[in-house]
Amino acid sequence: MNVELIDLTRRFGRTHAVAGVSLQAGPGVFGLLGPNGAGKTSLLRMMATVLPPTSGRLRLLERDPGSLGPRRVIRRRLGYLPQNLGYYPGFTVTEFVEYFALLKDMPPGRVPRAVAAAIEQVGLADRAKAKLRTLSGGMLRRAGIAQAIVNDPELLLLDEPTAGLDPEQRVAFRAVLRGLGEWATVVVSTHLVEDVGAACTDVALMDAGKLVFHGTPAELIARGEGSRAAGDAPLERGYSAVLAAARSAAGTRSATETRA
């Protein structure tokens, strides 16, 4: 298993951003859904080894990221695109991606071809020499995806990767995701349910820091069948039905605890 989380928690002061999540994921595209503040980004940041968990067990690529040596190995084989990607505006697309390839300790002989391939994959080959300051928001997002995939990561973590992409780019990007998911574990945090339906083999739904659903997109659709949950598409209805059930159960538990 490339990702193994056991009872993982992360607190910020009194807030439980992630509250006891257990999860396993092998190769494939794993969709992480949930409303704002559900804990998706905190979970992704822990998997990206930039945020230490408060408690629980985290294993990535069969290693413990809590130790320095294994963490370095994991980071060389990791790709990460956060929600807000910073960049140096004076870099060209090629320099930006090359910088990350070199930081990730890729063999120097492989770097030029890998950089060119990553830029090609995200459809920016014709803008490879353009300065980042001249790119549109969607193009910057694609440059960010290129830096994440340049090292052929075995674990790829993408936070809202399709935000700012137009429909044509989004469709192309889903194809890239499916290709990567054939041998790597790709975790995609998104609000866009249609991305999950089109690209993901597995899906998990988070709410209030907890995992409230884990299954296939077809299983999520099945949860919405026959219910009166809100949504224009079957996946959206499944999403709403699972959230409503989870919140109702949490409300019942809370009321019981208050009475007790």
């Binding site: 370095r72 030029p112 950089v115």
Partner: protein
């Protein structure tokens, strides 16, 4: 040359030896890192501050008054140089950069140490314009100590705020110099050969360098695990 503009061996040419390729890649990584930290602009500013120091000493710019006034210009220039060095700790890339291999701490350490050395060399060259209070030994102590404060500020508040520590120290020192400070933490008030002042400045520089090497400058209000 590929379509993306990266250098590759010409067809038929023998590939470069592995060690040579590694050295070229290391230099390329260091160059991209320094450019992303705006180090070329920082070098220009350090050269400008050195020219300013030379002018101030050569043409005897001065403010009438006690020790605070006498040291004001040189100390301000030293604090300015430290602020420039501290601000280069700011990195634009955030967490994706932190989530990479082993090189980042070395790059941070190399940058901080090299810029401090270059800053000292530049200001020492500027000091040839006239008589610098305390000489180049005091210059080294002051610059290292105030740079340490700047690096600590960058680690705690963020690279973009790295300048606030040196400027605050300048204000505190100037206020202290109006009295008769005895604490070695106001090292600029001590004679150049004073061991206590030198030790305090060295300690602060070591702490700042260690913090920036291990943790980097704080970004977006988020605290991450060390590299």
């Amino acid at each position: 040359m590929t379509t993306t503009g990266l250098h590759e061996p010409l067809p038929g040419a023998a590939p470069a030896p592995r060690a040579e390729r590694r050295a070229v890649a290391a230099l390329r990584l260091a160059w991209l890192y320094l450019v992303s930290r705006r180090v070329p602009a920082a070098l220009g500013l350090l050269a400008g501050l050195a020219a300013l120091l030379w002018s101030a000493l050569h043409w005897h710019w001065g403010i009438a008054g006690g020790p605070a006034a006498q040291q004001f210009i040189s100390l301000s220039i030293e604090a300015g140089a430290a602020a420039v060095i501290a601000v280069t700790a700011y990195g634009p890339f955030g967490e994706p950069e932190r989530a990479t291999g082993r090189w980042l701490p070395y790059l941070r350490l190399g940058e901080a140490a090299a810029l401090t050395a270059i800053g000292y060399a530049a200001l020492a060259a500027g000091a040839t314009g006239g008589l610098l209070p305390g000489g180049t030994l005091a210059l080294l102590r002051n610059l290292a100590g105030i740079t340490g404060i700047g690096l600590l500020t960058a680690a705690v508040l963020g690279g973009a705020f790295g300048w606030t520590g040196p400027i605050a120290y300048l204000v505190v020192t100037e206020v202290a110099l109006t009295g008769n400070p005895t604490t070695p933490w106001v090292w600029s008030a001590r004679p150049p050969h004073d061991l206590g002042g030198a030790l305090c400045a060295a300690l602060v520089f070591a702490a700042g360098t260690a913090a920036i090497t291990l943790f980097g400058a704080r970004d977006s209000g988020r605290r991450s695990s060390p590299e």
